[in-house]
Symmetry: D2
Subunit: 344 residues, 4 copies
Amino acid sequence: MMIIMHPGAPKEQIDAVIAEIEKQNLSSHPIFGVEQTIIGAVGDGHYVPKEIFEALPGVMEVQRISKPYKLASRQFHEHDSIFQLDGFHIGGTEIPIIAGPCSVESREQILEIAHAVKEAGANALRGGVFKPRTSPYSFQGLGEEGLEYMAEAREQTGLPIVTEVMAVSQIKMMEKYVDVFQLGARNMQNFNLLRALGETRIPVLFKRGMSATVEEMLMASEYILSGGNTRVILCERGIRTFETSTRNTTDINAIPVLKELTHLPVIIDPSHSTGDSKYVSNIAKAGVAAGADGVIVEVHQDPAHAVSDGKQSLTPEAFAKMVKQVKAVAEAVDRRLVSQHVTA
Amino acid sequence: MMIIMHPGAPKEQIDAVIAEIEKQNLSSHPIFGVEQTIIGAVGDGHYVPKEIFEALPGVMEVQRISKPYKLASRQFHEHDSIFQLDGFHIGGTEIPIIAGPCSVESREQILEIAHAVKEAGANALRGGVFKPRTSPYSFQGLGEEGLEYMAEAREQTGLPIVTEVMAVSQIKMMEKYVDVFQLGARNMQNFNLLRALGETRIPVLFKRGMSATVEEMLMASEYILSGGNTRVILCERGIRTFETSTRNTTDINAIPVLKELTHLPVIIDPSHSTGDSKYVSNIAKAGVAAGADGVIVEVHQDPAHAVSDGKQSLTPEAFAKMVKQVKAVAEAVDRRLVSQHVTA
Amino acid sequence: MMIIMHPGAPKEQIDAVIAEIEKQNLSSHPIFGVEQTIIGAVGDGHYVPKEIFEALPGVMEVQRISKPYKLASRQFHEHDSIFQLDGFHIGGTEIPIIAGPCSVESREQILEIAHAVKEAGANALRGGVFKPRTSPYSFQGLGEEGLEYMAEAREQTGLPIVTEVMAVSQIKMMEKYVDVFQLGARNMQNFNLLRALGETRIPVLFKRGMSATVEEMLMASEYILSGGNTRVILCERGIRTFETSTRNTTDINAIPVLKELTHLPVIIDPSHSTGDSKYVSNIAKAGVAAGADGVIVEVHQDPAHAVSDGKQSLTPEAFAKMVKQVKAVAEAVDRRLVSQHVTA
Amino acid sequence: MMIIMHPGAPKEQIDAVIAEIEKQNLSSHPIFGVEQTIIGAVGDGHYVPKEIFEALPGVMEVQRISKPYKLASRQFHEHDSIFQLDGFHIGGTEIPIIAGPCSVESREQILEIAHAVKEAGANALRGGVFKPRTSPYSFQGLGEEGLEYMAEAREQTGLPIVTEVMAVSQIKMMEKYVDVFQLGARNMQNFNLLRALGETRIPVLFKRGMSATVEEMLMASEYILSGGNTRVILCERGIRTFETSTRNTTDINAIPVLKELTHLPVIIDPSHSTGDSKYVSNIAKAGVAAGADGVIVEVHQDPAHAVSDGKQSLTPEAFAKMVKQVKAVAEAVDRRLVSQHVTA
């Protein structure tokens, strides 16, 4: 941490900062500049909040040197984390593809899609049963009934299931069904939920909040990791910017940035990051070319009549075509799709 | 709703759109343009999601005409909503000021600040007992113990208390203590929580999410209103932009925009919208000049040692000065501060 | 400047950074931390670009301590700059109001508006003769003919004239007519134009680029100041964000931030910062309440038929009403409107 | 164009809108809704500015249906534009790579890099001689002297040269040297310059402004196209967002969006869109995977001592490696790098 004092800050203010640094078990290294004094705080400062210093009199600015997270950091865990899921690994050479509808709408619907996406090459099945909708008048999901249909789909296809958890109170019930919890973008800083997910031992597909920085993403993942749940899969799903020609802006830079900063697997969600099925395949390929460890996409047998996210859903045919294209790109960057789906 | 077809969309696609419009109990009005066909959907479309049409084949774009909210809209509730709180009204001519620390830290601390802010002119006391922190290693709040101290502060000063609720499971316990629930920016689209707050009859101070549009804000408030809880106070607390010289960017335009679109009271939180106590007073004045119905600010007796948000907290002295300045601006725009605090 | 080395950067990389610091006539102060080495560079570093260090091997990040501008900084020019214009001062206690149409459309139009705005209390007349339009098919301005009409308006009303310069080649011709050059938002980083304006001795109304930070704004103003033209008036005119309910987002925080960082006068342009005449008056008041030294607004006698920016233009009647309201707010913050317009 | 009237707008306001529509040679189609009237304006409305209607009394909002550009639109020019440059085509199957330093620093430097990038597979040489720098105290470029060195590099290597033009006054001199004019991001809406480039017959590499939307980009390109210069190459070079872990955010979505909307070639500049040489190769690959027609990158023999943009410059070795990787990705998406460089 570097604490930059206001020009002309008197000695007693500098001394108070030094005292606070030492109280935090860091050592202080003042530099007396021409205009300003800067005080370096050296030691393990990952978990020392910078706001402790920001409010001290005479402090102009505080700049972090060490990252405000540790368990997610590659600095302390050099090699890529590779997690085993049901039938495949994530974080290694192989690139899994997770596919399925935005919402589970009925038993027939989810079973049909499950078979279709498996056929086309998917390695896991996604589908929401609690839907966070911007309007209270939209479809809100099937709840536990939907999970039962998902479980049946798993039984028939062998695909592990990924579904969003929206509240702490849902965890216990959901644990009976899900293979991977999805943490939605709108809940990325729902710290109660993060903490509760940290106490489970079920992997978490962690979606970036639409206005969260990469650093905030890693700090929030630390809530889960610090509870002992080490299987966190980070997901870039687009951020909010001024551009309106797509629903969100895919932050493709975040893929190599995350791969540099963290050992956790990083996947891309081109359905949400574009919001338009026309662009999904191109952005899936771009994500893999940029270094993503997996792809999650929305697929629906009849997008025109999907209860939600129809505009961004691929048909099974378009999905099958996308898988072929992603396969070629994966091989061009020395990766490959999951070679064969083996039911555990 | 206007459904814009792709250039050259064939008749059967146009017919399918018309059929869907009629299925939604709207009437259809096609316009056959030179390049494209546009189909107007007329009727009460507030709650018809535009995504129903977006995924139909041949549809290029869907544009809303009616707003996707109704209860919050001034169109159906022309006059300003004025709510009575303990000792004052909000939404009318008088401008209340809500003040207090970011976090309740101890009994002594909250009692001291409560007396100080009352003395200086505050009409309600704020203070957090559950703290949503970006890092899991930061102070997380006193919980119910903090609420007991808040209740004691209310007893001594007569100030109603405002505190943040972070989870559905906290509501029941908190109802015994709080006068106003605060819904935090990070939970603005936590729909389970919104729905649960709609079922209480305690007013909600509703903070804008840091990347939420004005329209999303009103749609989310509809979750609370539709549950029958009509006392929602909207709060502009800054949005995330590219500018980093302040923590957030106060969207001052949102004040008159909201006052035009909704009958609900709108207040400003200059502490969060600037993140720096140096700027709080100027932005509080700007908010009132722009038409805000109230001000909420963070005050701490010793900002340098606050456990959270010290940098943006005013001292009681600075707060007293701010109140005087806000009073002058309020009168310049034909409003006034709450004339006299009357304990109910 | 603080140069932060990568964890494990070897001694020769550290030495190379130290050598470069000394080459820049700064002195080096290394701090050997637990994980990383940080090297402080002390001395007059305002004009040392940080990129010199960023590309050196082993450097992780470079953080500026001193600001990358000097002439605009309050640190070296403590008191507010107050400039005399024709008939009033700017930067002191009095708040001037600049008003007029977006475009000069005809002799009759500009003369009529000039009289109307003077009558209502304006202190200077704005009007564009070269129009930077996003579409090549829109009206592009009257050119020098428009300036002749502006000059005639000045003669009749005594109001000094403010008009936008779009290219270096226009400066010489325009100097015969204008009292204040306006530098448009789209040209804020047109460095050739900035440099050329620095060589004139005509004041410059400097508009913030729509995606420029406060720091970039001050760096760009340095181009003008360093040429010896000290009369630069900064103007907040809204930034581009994700919010679309107004054309731009008024960065009201920038008003007190700029007043802290620079001695130059800061004014607000609520016409462009909102894009909607409905909101102009509220935001003008907010700007003055936040500390702005002046207001510039678009006024047109018939906004519905203005060739440009009609939606955001006030009628003369609405403008007169705005002036009265701004006057009340100015007095509430211990300022006042220009007391009397005196033709020089 | 759809003109949406305010609820309750009286008949005379509706009639005035209809009259204005007809004045613009469009036909009017009113739809009388439950709450509001909407008036469709049908005909060739590409060049009718929507602001003509926005300021009319009673108008709430105007929504465009037809795009505000035409020459750039794929609607009127279905097939991809393919331009021949010196030794290669752009816009077809083959993907050219443009490489070179940010700034031409000396004769030796540019000759050395020219040979190095040619060796590694570049098809054109970039290099700036006028540098738009955010600080007036930074290196500003060699001017015409630099162009002479570029010309010498072309003579020796056969690589056509691409260099930025910053002002109308530079065009005439530069035409003697350059093969492709680069229009910089900061000048994307410098309409005088756009217009002047439209009058040349030299291809223009058109960089997106850092806060320009895709639509504004196409509208600005229309300035050049409407002058008769049809060879415009669009370049995605990153936009400004809240994320600060990279200098800009690569808007990878813009690649397929542009390819859908326009027939013009679209290339990617991963050097500027990331600002960090560590990420350049991954984003170059992502761009090609997303459908880009070319890549432009900064290469410097000694990035640590480049006078500008060292941090984002690749060494010739890293560039050679990138070319190999991009080649593999290009082939995976059924494209290929330029097969052989043939001097014209």
